[in-house]
């Protein structure tokens, strides 16, 4: 950092952050599981606590912005190791809530290390990738980077909290930006499509579809004989591809039907429309959609927001906070929230693109990817487009660890971005 350089903090992202946190607090207040409202500063109720967490975040932000910018890159590895240790430590000291050992008891509060592992992993990925001799084209480097991402994801899956582990797929966007072939995405998409269609359609049809499309691609590729520079298509490669697809379809459907637990299976089945169960497992999503629909254009006053006030949507102040926004502030509230998230993501991508060094850019994309995945999975679930996956909506869902984790994630990047002109390798 050059002496006398003034950091330029990105005002737009800070404003969006403030707006989201504010809307979040109001929604936590309306969705609070209380019969009688008390003062919003009542520390015994969720809204009082959330207010307290926001205060802590304010301090965190000051600290993050005050620390020398070089610190983060330099200690990225150490932060990652500490974070991995804290995840591993859960298996010894963790407290079990709702069947998952994801929390450390901390007096009257709990601390969820998986929320902090996100930024730690983002730092570690950025640090590793920004080394001069590292390339994603190199298989060994790719394996290492995959390991860095997979390790916390694995530990979190074991808690078990597969929803939070899912978020680590967000790093795909950072890797893709750094040159990872789109083939990976294509493969991933094919895998997903095969997996879901195997659940909905008879497996025989899928095999037929695989064979037809692969034969079609083979026949099409034979026609481009004039393009001499391209390798000649080899039949055995297509046969292998077809067999792999078929084997994969069989194995995933076997895993789904025999290895997955019922609760996971049901969540997927409900979204696929295979099971209509508004009273059982589908209850959450159904009630959540009713709450959103009840909001109409401009929402209902708290007294008439019966879904929210009656506690019909389970976990409404945490994972289902978006449904409270929907009922209390209507389409105005939901569309504002969605647009704010879109703006934040656009802003983060623009900010990442304007970084001069790779570390900041990779970290930026990591942040954007993580926020995007939370946004996608959480709201997708609440509005009934995706299966129930228990992850919070950033800045808005009630929860100290979450709010702090997301705040650190964002403001670390704002700090890096503020120093982009002077910050150099």
């Amino acid at each position: 950092m050059g002496i006398g350089d003034k950091p330029k903090y990105d005002l737009a992202s800070i404003l969006i952050y403030t707006a989201l946190v504010f809307i979040g607090l109001i929604s936590v207040y309306s969705a609070a599981p209380v019969i009688e409202y008390t003062s919003i500063t009542d520390i015994n109720e969720v809204y009082g606590k959330q207010l307290l967490f926001i205060g802590v975040c304010a301090i965190l932000i000051i600290v993050i912005l005050a620390i020398e910018v070089k610190f983060y890159e330099r200690f990225a590895g150490l932060i990652y190791v500490i974070s991995i240790l804290s995840l591993a430590g859960l298996f010894v000291f963790g407290k079990e809530v709702n069947g998952a050992t994801s929390w450390y008891p901390l007096g009257p509060f709990t601390f969820q290390p998986s929320e902090f592992a996100k930024f730690a992993t983002a730092l570690a990925v950025a640090k590793f990738l920004s080394q001069l001799n590292v390339s994603l084209k190199n298989v060994r480097d790719f394996m290492i980077i995959s390991g860095i991402i997979a390790l916390p994801a694995l530990l979190i899956t074991l808690q078990p909290d597969p929803g939070s582990a899912l978020i680590y797929t967000a790093f795909f966007f950072a890797l893709q930006r750094e040159g990872l072939s789109l083939w990976y995405l294509t493969l991933g998409l094919i895998a997903l499509v095969l997996f879901f269609s195997a659940l909905v359609i008879n497996i025989g049809w899928i095999i037929l579809a695989i064979l037809v499309s692969i034969t079609g691609i083979y026949l099409l590729s034979r026609k481009r004989k004039h393009k001499k520079h391209l390798a000649k298509p080899r039949v055995y490669l297509f046969v292998i591809a077809a067999l792999t697809c078929i084997a994969y379809t069989f194995s995933t459907s076997y895993i789904f039907n025999n290895l997955l637990e019922d609760r996971h299976r049901n969540r997927i089945n409900i979204v696929l429309g295979k099971v209509q169960d508004d009273a059982g497992i589908g209850y959450n999503i159904n009630q959540s959609m009713i709450a959103i629909g009840n909001g109409g254009w401009t929402g209902k006053p708290l007294q008439e927001a019966t879904q929210t006030r009656g506690g019909y949507v389970p976990e409404q102040h945490t994972d289902f906070i978006f449904s409270a926004i929907g009922e209390v502030s209507g389409l105005v509230g939901t569309s504002t929230t969605i647009i704010l998230f879109m703006l934040l993501l656009y802003r983060l991508i623009i900010m990442a693109e304007r970084q001069r060094n790779q570390f900041a850019r990779v970290y930026g994309y990591g942040v954007a990817g993580i926020f995007f995945l939370h946004f996608f999975v959480n709201i997708g679930m609440v509005i009934g487009l995706l299966p129930t996956v228990g992850i919070p909506l950033p800045f808005m869902s009630y929860g100290g660890s979450g709010l702090m984790g997301f705040t650190i994630l964002l403001f670390l990047f704002i700090k890096l971005d503020a120093h982009r002109m002077s910050y150099d390798h």
Partner: protein
């Protein structure tokens, strides 16, 4: 490309989400708002008191009483001492256990009824004791209180609405009480009032949290309307008393207004049976009584051959058509040979006779010849039949009559087409000769018979019979019930017929039921009837019928009495009719001998005949119905043994 992937995915997802929330909050909004309301708004109804029912003299017949339901909230009970509680509630342990299990299955947090509709007396000892059982409590509700122990079929009863009524009428919700029969059903909307409600939001446990919209959408109940009906409670009571041990019906109508003074069907039952904790048992017992059929309203639904009272109609039609004069004499030779297999029989009396004696002696031969003239007045008997049909139906016969009670039957008055479609060959008047004497194809209900009598009393018109007199103290002003319905018979033709009916009473078939000081006009009837016993057509003892009005020149009451298997008209029906007339006009009974006969005679022995499988005699000259203790016991036992098994 590298830079655009996340950007485009974010855009795609964002737009999808916006589309989805617009879909949910704009397009699907109404549906989802309704679901939210179903979910979260609980409506607690505030039931108004049901209207009272008074008789024509302002005497209370139906009021309300408080009843008590024993309720349970399963979640709050803890371990229940089934034995003690069953003893306290006076129900069987296994039944109590089942009730509690059902309640828990339905909802653990919402109240269910354990024992419904306890009366004040049953409730008193529970009040203190029940406190020892947490989760159980008592809920008040308003029930009917009947001030009479008869007339169930006309008053009707109320009961919880079924799914069908809920589906067909938005007003009703689960657990509402509504009229099921009689006046309670007919005037349900007036009697019930409009229930009020308070809306509360409730949480997902079903607990009420707060008043919805600060109570701005709540509604106060509107009380039910009191009704005054046309029945005379005392006359009704007296008729019910006289009808004990008989089957059939009594209808009395005030001719000047069409108001129904008495409407009795027998056997009847105490309306209070259909309330309280034994109601379902009692309802079942009544509905399943296929021997006595107490559920059938014989006055409104029973379609009987009218018998001889129908002769006066034929006399009137004949006079109107000009085919006979009152003075013309017809001969009777113990019957009339119309060309059938055997002659139409008649009993011994002076012959030849004119109209007055024809009616007084109820001469079959006289009316067969008069009837033939009516039908044969036209070349085509079908046309003659049609003319006869139109005259007869102008008395309200063969029609539902339009009275304000919920059940009825039209009866049957055949016309030309009826026979043309029935007989494959050309038919002539003699083929329908039974109509002359009220047998054969003619069928009427007792209320039609009474209305016909009222029309004769009025000399040519009637008011539609009705049961409603005042609504909330205001006399009804319904055109249907205040307009005169004219018969097709001119007033001048009634004089000879009325004279004949008076002779019935003074020196004819009903001379034994005379009441000092009252000029009655009447007509007896002895109706042949048949039944099938093991697929074999068997004759039963004749029905005893009597129609009458009085006083002759200023009729205040028209009565029709129909007694199944009472044999000849004056044996039962005429006695009952004349006692009712005396009661109505004088307020006291002088013919206590008649009253005594009716109270000490039972016709159950007749009703048992067709069931007993043993050979039996019909139309026994001496009434076997004198009630003795031993006989009663035997009869009861027999009837009970014939009932389908109603144990449950």
């Amino acid at each position: 490309m590298k830079k655009l992937l996340l950007l485009s995915i974010v855009t795609l997802v964002g737009i999808t989400f916006l589309g989805r929330v617009i879909y949910l909050q704009v397009i699907l909004s109404d549906t989802l708002q309704m679901e939210a309301e179903n979910n979260a708004i609980t409506t607690i109804y505030d039931y108004p008191e049901r209207g009272f029912i008074y008789d024509r003299n302002g005497k209370l017949m139906v009021a309300n009483q408080v009843a008590y339901d024993v309720m349970v909230i399963p979640r709050e009970t803890g371990d229940v001492d089934i034995n003690k509680l069953a003893e306290l509630l006076k129900i069987h342990e296994s039944r109590l256990e089942k009730k509690l299990k059902d309640a828990r299955t339905w909802s653990a947090v919402q109240a269910s009824v354990v024992v419904p509709q306890l009366t004040q007396i049953e409730y008193a000892p529970l009040q203190e004791q029940l406190r020892k059982f947490p989760g159980f409590y008592i809920q008040r509700r308003s029930l009917r209180k009947y001030m009479v122990d008869h007339s169930a079929s006309v008053l009707g009863y109320i009961r919880e609405v079924n799914q069908n009524s809920i589906k067909n009428d938005d007003y009703y919700v689960q657990g509402d009480l509504a009229g099921k029969s009689g006046i309670e059903l007919q005037y349900e909307e007036e009697l019930r009032g409009v229930k009020g409600y308070k809306k509360y939001t409730r949480d997902h446990y079903g607990r009420a949290i707060e008043s919805y919209k600060n109570g701005s959408s709540d509604k106060a109940p509107i009380a039910g309307t009191d009704l005054t009906i046309t029945l005379d409670k005392e006359l009704q009571e007296y008729a019910e008393k006289l009808m004990i041990n008989k089957r059939g019906g009594v209808v009395a109508i005030e001719p000047q207004t069409g108001e129904i003074l008495t409407l009795v069907t027998a056997p009847n039952y105490d309306p209070s049976l259909l309330m309280g904790r034994d109601r379902s048992k009692n309802i079942n017992a009544i509905l399943r009584d296929t021997v006595r059929l107490p559920d059938v309203n014989r006055v409104l639904q029973g379609q009987y051959a009218p018998g001889s009272p129908f002769k006066v109609i034929n006399a009137l039609v004949a006079l109107q058509e000009g085919v006979v004069t009152p003075q013309e004499h017809f001969s009777c030779n113990n019957g009339y040979n119309y060309g059938g297999k055997k002659p139409l029989g008649c009993h011994s009396h002076a012959s030849p006779l004119a109209m007055n004696r024809g009616i007084a002696e109820s001469c079959n031969a006289y009316f067969a010849q008069v009837y033939r003239r009516i039908i044969e007045n036209e070349k085509d008997p079908a046309k003659g039949m049609d003319i006869w049909h139109d005259h007869v139906t102008s008395f309200g016969l063969g029609d539902f009559l339009g009275y304000d009670l919920p059940v009825g039957q039209p009866g049957r008055i055949p016309d030309g087409d009826y026979y043309t479609s029935r007989y494959r060959y050309k038919w002539y008047a003699p083929a329908t000769i039974s109509n002359a004497i009220g047998q054969g194809e003619v069928a009427v209900t007792p209320i039609q018979l009474a209305n016909m009598t009222a029309a004769i009393a009025n000399r040519g018109y009637f008011y539609r019979p009705h049961i409603i007199k005042e609504i909330n103290g205001t006399p009804i002003d319904i055109l249907k019930y205040t307009e005169k319905n004219y018969t097709t018979i001119e007033a001048k033709h009634f004089k000879p017929v009325v004279e004949g009916m008076n002779e019935v009473y003074r020196s004819g078939t009903a001379k034994y039921v005379q009441i000092p000081g009252i000029e009655i006009c009447g007509k007896t009837g002895t109706v042949e009837n048949f039944t099938k016993v093991n697929g074999e057509r068997k004759q039963l003892t004749d029905h005893s019928v009597f129609i009458a009005f009085a006083p002759k020149d200023d009729p205040k009451i028209a009565v029709a009495v129909f007694i199944e298997n009472g044999y000849w008209g004056s044996r039962y029906a005429a006695k009952i009719a004349s006692l009712l007339i005396e009661k109505h006009l004088k307020g006291a009974i002088t013919r206590t001998d008649l009253e005594n006969y009716l109270l000490t005679h039972s016709l159950e022995y007749e009703y048992v005949k067709k069931l007993s499988k043993a050979p039996f005699k019909v139309n026994e000259a001496i009434d076997q119905g004198l009630i003795t203790l031993e006989k009663e016991k035997k009869l009861r036992k027999l009837v009970d043994s014939l009932q389908p098994n109603t144990l449950y």
